[in-house]
Symmetry: C2
Subunit: 406 residues, 2 copies
């Protein structure tokens, strides 16, 4: 069994790096605060006897040697970066539970057959740099390291520059690190486990995600002198598109969700009719065909809005992640571990994207969920109980032991 | 008669200060570029033999002495600041035409009875600091100098700091400068003169303006895991409010206009349902009662939207400028000057706010409009012809002469 109160203390301790007044975290990937928590994580892993390496995209790998070093390690982990108004559990639980599992094995004097690995993936959140789960996608070969290094944030800072600024451009080639199995513990980030009173989510896969960049071009004009019918107001275009996005998601529901998370008026001024708006769109569904249908329906709605309002709208898909099934054998191992520990559980699909979804194409992979309060995540008030975090970490411990000693 | 090609040259020459690639100007009030054009204006006025003073809010006053210095000066002028995507004529024509009138009087060796004054008012546009027509409002006693000096832009820089940064915190107390009459030449910024093929607008007054700051509070949550019906999306609230603003303006039309010019999501992220949005609202009509009715109608719509979407919306009126009638005798003088010069003309109300609207409460005031292409203003493509600018400057010359020698 893991030490639940030690795990809880590390969660509270690392929550000082990037703490917000509202009790959440603002620890964008590769920010100074992300650098601080990485330093903390490296030192804690080294103190637990782990060997820590860093790859060219900053991902940290902490190895616990096994009896048979010819076997590829059984890995766990998640991420330590957060949203700008993020919580204290999203990603953090899975990473620190990995550390706690290693400490618990040390305390019990247990040596595994295969080595074990705890990973802190760079930029899982996708808030500062798109796409989300960036480093694990590069690990899985979906992007080249050069492509990722050259991506820029809103301030024009590249991933490479940001890595150098915090000293985390590592020497390991991306993808070189061997991984035999991957298991990620995470808060559910949705309402299902809490609503059903279950402690463990046995995750069978992740839903599909499509990300888009949009621009709306209208015509700037004087707010006091331009008659309403003559206006080509880009913000009114956004308003109609946002409501169409909601409509289309609901029409493909209840599974589909769609969100405009960013929207910026170009050269805004109180007394100028907005001439330009940039926005982002996030569209998800567990089925590929629904992603296609929702995108097509939305494009038709946008065309109609653009024509009626004499606007030019461009919508570019910048990323698409197909729905991912996890490895049935590892899913069974997770379920067996939850059962053996006497924890209530149910199978489910993840609504959020996770590094596990990228690993799944390369390596047998599964995930473990625990409930979070009111299903709320990507919010400073995100919360989970110590008892649920401990339960999840115990399921992780037992699943890793079963895989590493098989 | 003024020298139309000399006037045109000064317009082109000053259009280098803050020039944008698209052929417009980005010369926000009290910016370094505004400092450059102010220096240019001071030197040009001094070269024309005028005495230039600056008040505590940076407004420049260039005096041409008259035979009877006991009479208060007859003033003209406008402003040299622009919108972030502004044009080369809005405000600039009226200020530089004032300079051209002085040069033309010098060339002709004409001395007037009353002295003449050309004014460059600080922050007419209201884009960097609210409200618009800030310095002329303080001149007219609507705000104290201390209040205005302490207002801050989006970057937190106060008016006082911005004045010091460009060396334009002058020594004259605001309001101390005597003005006997005020006449402002401006582009129409609307489509009427062009549509009717008229050269001169004889402006009888300005419409009412109300400015508001709004906030929408929802709840940040995960874009992938939050079911559509559970969301409290502040951006969808903005979308409905923006369309309600359009509806309400049209319902009080054709005179009423309303615009959301600025809208900003708090802590935006691609995969976060927006939890907070700030926005501005600009509402106008020539009748006070319509301003009241439109505001009430909009508040009712907003209440319904907020309740249905479980959002908290606050809408605060930060400025209201009542509709202003100009002085009938000066309006007649403008009309007479246009007639004497053989220029086609019509009476009209201004859709834009102008410094003249603030002066009108203190000093007999009127305005002269000339057409602008397609009625477009607050846009980099704003344009007016040399011949219309010359015509407007000649009407200004004749009106000032009539008033100063009366
Ligand atoms: N787990 C998580 O919140 N990941 C961020 C990527 C996403 O938007 O799903
Ligand atoms: N003339 C002009 O564009 N003034 C700016 C203030 C307003 O919005 O009307």
């Amino acid at each position: 069994r893991v030490d639940g109160s030690r795990l809880w203390s590390t969660i509270l301790e690392t929550a000082t790096f990037g703490a917000t007044p509202a009790g959440g975290l603002n620890r964008l990937t590769l920010s100074p605060e992300d650098g601080q928590v990485r330093d903390w994580f490296r030192e804690a892993c080294e103190a637990a006897g782990l060997e820590v390496g860093v790859d060219a995209l900053g991902t940290q790998f902490a190895l616990r040697r096994g009896r048979d070093m010819s076997r590829p390690p059984v890995a766990c982990g998640s991420h330590l970066d957060t949203q700008p108004t993020g919580g204290r559990f999203d990603g953090i639980l899975g990473t620190l539970a990995g550390l706690e599992v290693m400490r618990a094995l040390n305390d019990a004097g247990i040596e595994t057959e295969a080595p074990l690995l705890v990973i802190n993936w760079t930029n899982e959140e996708g808030s500062r740099y798109a796409p989300a789960m960036m480093a694990s996608a590069a690990y899985a070969g979906e992007f080249t390291t050069e492509d990722i290094l050259s991506r820029r944030d809103a301030a024009g800072i590249s991933v490479g520059e940001a890595l150098d600024a915090i000293g985390y451009r590592g020497t390991e080639p991306v993808g070189a690190r061997k991984i035999g199995r991957f298991v990620e513990l995470h808060i559910e980030q949705g309402p299902i486990l809490e609503a059903e009173g279950k402690t463990i989510g046995v995750v069978e896969g992740g839903q599909g995600i499509a990300w888009f960049d949009g621009t709306i071009q209208g015509f700037e004009s004087h707010a006091g002198t331009t008659p309403m019918p003559r206006r080509r107001d880009a913000l009114l275009g956004l308003a109609e598109i946002a409501l169409a996005v909601e409509d289309v998601a609901k029409a493909h529901g209840p599974s589909a969700v769609a969100t405009i998370g960013e929207a910026v008026i170009g050269a805004p001024s109180r007394n100028v009719v907005p001439g330009q708006v940039r926005f982002t769109l996030d569209l998800r569904d567990p089925r590929s065909a629904i992603l296609d249908a929702a995108e097509a329906a939305l494009r038709a709605r946008i065309d109609e809005i653009a024509e009626r309002r004499r606007l030019t709208v461009a919508l570019t898909r910048i990323w698409r992640k197909e729905p991912v099934p996890f490895d049935p054998a590892i899913v069974d191992s997770v379920e067996a571990a939850a059962g053996a520990l006497g924890l209530s559980h149910r199978r489910m699909v993840s609504g959020a994207g996770h590094d596990a979804c990228n690993l799944a194409g390369q390596v047998p992979t599964a995930m473990i969920f625990v409930p979070c309060r009111d299903g709320v995540s990507h919010n400073e008030s995100e919360s989970a109980t110590q008892s649920d975090c401990t339960a999840g970490a115990n399921v992780l411990l037992h699943t890793l032991l079963a895989l590493a000693n098989a």
